[in-house]
């Protein structure tokens, strides 16, 4: 798809805009609709769009799998450790009052951290799911190609004749069974 100039130019405008919008949804969630879940999905859709237009390999290059795994875990960890931090500061788990100078600023900091953790996990999970599902057909195709290649090394015509005979035989068997 990357050969189409219209798609390429529009995607160059769209992808940064989508990412910026995701960041807006992420950090403006305290004031308007939005938050970590929505922002994560929107942020991931920018990477999905990139992979759909420029191919999976370049998409994987932009967001490598090992970093993705790290990001998935880092988001959950950030959420959990925010709770642990409030534990160490003498409050209940996930009670953000003690994180800042005043209770309100503590709540602001806590919500920001927690929402960022959610966003990070959701975004990287969505990218991982897309790459896993979309990467499968090529994987399967590659495998079958490899097998065909390996199968072609022994004398090919003989194999073909054999397989033809085999299919004929199975067909005959099937029709016989039907009768």
């Amino acid at each position: 798809m990357q050969d189409d100039p219209v798609i390429r130019v529009i995607s160059k405008v769209m992808i940064p805009t989508v990412m910026l919008f995701a960041l807006y949804v992420q950090f403006h969630g305290d004031y308007g609709p939005g938050g970590g879940f929505q922002a994560g999905v929107i942020f991931a859709s920018a990477f999905v769009l990139n992979a759909m237009i420029f191919g999976l390999n370049r998409g994987r290059h932009v967001w490598p799998a090992h970093l993705n795994l790290l990001a998935i875990c880092a988001g959950v960890l950030l959420y959990g450790l925010t709770g642990v931090a409030s534990l160490f500061l003498g409050a209940n788990y996930l009670d953000y009052d003690v994180l800042g100078a005043t209770a309100k600023s503590g709540q602001h900091i806590g919500i920001l951290l927690v929402e960022f953790g959610v966003g990070l996990t959701v975004a990287s999970v969505m990218v991982a799911l897309f790459f896993t599902f979309a990467g499968r057909p090529t994987h399967v195709r590659l495998l079958s190609k490899m097998q065909a290649h390996e199968g072609a090394r022994p004398p090919a015509p003989k194999d073909e004749a054999k397989s033809e005979a085999k299919t004929k035989a199975t067909k005959d068997n099937k029709t016989g069974a039907h009768k």
Partner: protein, 192 residues
């Protein structure tokens, strides 16, 4: 009156899309219809003043779910196999729908101030949000602060789901096993 018209048209559109999705056998069309279903449902949530839910429905249901379904579509045949109606499940579904429809008549009216849901912890959250947390969006303060445990659980659910999918489909196998498999396949071919 106009509110009733909007609701009625949205609900009938939802029903129409659902019936169409059931009737069609081309899976591509079904995926597109499910995306449209989510979008109409999101509009319905906006009408109900649940903007955050609408946002999530539009982003997750209409956006990323459709893409994931399309990615899955490349692995399966393009058409659903024709099959006859399974009567026992159909009867069970209809019976459940009838029971739910009867139960709906027992619910308090939409927006009723005396409904139990508005008299439990909700008033405390709505009144306290400005003083305790000080952010204008009460949904965020409930989600991230008052109900922080639940959101942590949700995040862990997403995390677990991703790990499960990656383990099953991600192609993480031990290197020596992959070699063994290849060798086995090669031997099989030689034997033939």
């Amino acid at each position: 009156m106009s509110g009733f018209l909007v609701n009625a048209s949205l609900i009938s559109l939802l029903t129409l899309i659902a019936i169409l999705a059931l009737r069609l056998h081309r899976l591509f069309a079904v995926v597109m219809l499910s995306g449209a279903f989510s979008l109409v449902a999101a509009t319905l949530f906006v009408v109900l003043d649940a903007v955050d839910v609408a946002f999530t429905e539009a982003a997750v249901g209409a956006g990323i779910s459709s893409i994931l379904a399309l990615a899955t579509l490349s692995l399966v045949p393009a058409e659903e196999k024709p099959h006859s109606i399974a009567f026992v499940p159909a009867f069970l579904a209809l019976a459940t729908a009838a029971m739910l429809a009867i139960a709906v008549t027992d619910l308090p009216a939409f927006g009723d101030v005396n409904a139990p849901i508005h008299n439990h912890v909700a008033p405390e959250f709505i009144k306290g949000s400005a003083d305790d947390i000080g952010i204008p969006n009460v949904v965020t303060s409930v989600l991230a602060s008052y109900r922080g445990y639940d959101t942590l659980g949700e995040t862990v659910v997403i995390f677990t789901a991703a790990i499960a999918v990656l383990l099953v489909l991600g192609g993480y196998t031990r290197p020596h096993r992959r070699k063994e498999k290849r060798r086995k396949n090669g031997e099989d071919k030689d034997a033939r």
